[in-house]
């Protein structure tokens, strides 16, 4: 939908985009974490690196 390019609209857009990015990353990052942990030495994971 078409929006005015006012400052407040741009700020709302920016917040919206950031929140969506967080949601999107929250959905996929656990998978990458699992993959990363599977290929790492268990001792290193236990140390918290």
């Amino acid at each position: 939908m078409v929006q005015d390019k006012t400052l407040s609209n741009r700020i709302v857009d920016l917040i919206n985009y950031m929140l969506l990015l967080i949601f999107g990353l929250a959905a996929v990052l656990p998978f990458f974490y699992v993959i990363a942990v599977s290929f790492t030495d268990p001792a290193e994971v236990a140390r918290g690196d």
């Binding site: 939908m1 078409v2 999107g24 236990a46």
Partner: protein, 317 residues
């Protein structure tokens, strides 16, 4: 559902009296396409319903339905007088309530947020990202949560430990059971739940937004007066359908998250049916428990549908 839409003639010409058979012959390909769906419901939904008679019998597998003795409401009476009944009822109802309050509105919110995005590529990427968890089975979801939240080297607890110096046993503490269940549901299904709302939003006429803008509506006004009314009937229908499974907690997820320490808050009707029916072989009793769940669901659906119609919405039937 609406067969009228398949009969454009009946809209213009005055409705002639015609038999069902003539309808079927004329729309034979439509009925042919309907057939697999009807067969599915008969074979997998209606025929198994006859198995419910075992809730009123003392069912013995070697006697069968015909020869097993009839006992009336014995199993229901036993279920309602069971000391565990209120615990099960409270756990199931609370989980359903939390899911309704915290999970149900989120797909709507996410769909509204996605709808505001104007860069198609960005929107599609985020959509793809949030759909992914839906395609993973509960076993894997619980496994990932275990890896992240366990007190022994879990990522989240390591962070909490470094910040506060103590750990939270998300997976064992009874007070964390319900939040974790709801959080998992949200993580897994929110993205998938947006699809139906985004489909409804795709059909909104852009002219409505242009007209609203000319009338001086800012974007919140546009969301409130155009976008939300456009998905209102979808929300109502999904809500009614959700109430139908109100007492279904999702056996797999609960069963995987149960530990000896959170049984007090985690045991629900679904797990109870499993324990009584499949591990203790009390077929009739667990059938009665399952039937109780379905009857409650039916009452809720009919009630919610009636209410929706009272408020001028389109119900599900």
């Amino acid at each position: 559902m609406r067969t009228e839409t398949n009969q454009p003639t009946s809209l213009t010409a005055p409705r002639r009296k015609r038999g069902l058979l003539r309808d079927i012959v004329r729309d034979k390909y439509l009925y042919l396409m309907l057939l697999p769906g009807v067969l599915y419901f008969i074979v997998f939904k209606y025929i198994p319903m006859f198995g419910l008679v075992m809730a009123f019998q003392d069912y013995k597998p070697f006697l069968g339905f015909i020869d097993s003795p009839w006992v009336g409401f014995k199993h229901f009476e036993r279920f309602f007088s069971e000391p565990q009944f209120w615990m099960l009822f409270r756990n199931t109802a609370l989980l359903a309530l939390y899911s309704l309050v915290f999970y149900f509105p989120l797909p709507i919110l996410l769909a509204l947020m996605l709808n505001e995005v104007r860069h198609e590529a960005y929107k599609r990427t985020i959509q793809t990202f949030v759909y992914v968890p839906h395609f993973v089975s509960w076993v894997v979801v619980v496994g990932i949560f275990y890896l992240l939240f366990t007190t022994e080297g879990g990522l989240v607890n390591e962070l909490i430990y470094r910040l506060t110096g103590s750990k939270i046993s998300f997976l064992l503490a009874p007070e964390w059971f319900r939040p974790m269940i709801i959080f998992q549901q949200i993580w897994k299904e929110v993205g998938w739940g947006t699809i139906i709302f985004l489909a409804a939003l795709a059909g909104v006429d852009p002219q409505l937004y242009e007209a609203a803008r000319i009338d001086g509506a800012n974007r919140w006004r546009q969301i409130w007066h155009i976008t939300l009314p456009a998905i209102r009937s979808t929300i109502v229908i999904l809500l009614i359908l959700r109430l139908g499974n109100f007492l279904d907690s999702g056996f797999e997820q609960i069963f995987l998250m149960l530990t000896p320490t959170n049984r007090e808050v985690g045991e629900v009707f679904d797990t109870y049916v499993y324990v009584k029916g499949l591990t203790q072989l009390q077929y009739s009793y667990s059938a009665a428990v399952g039937m109780f769940k379905s009857v409650v669901g039916l009452i809720l659906v009919v009630g919610a549908n009636w209410l929706a119609k009272r408020f001028g919405e389109e119900g599900i039937y």
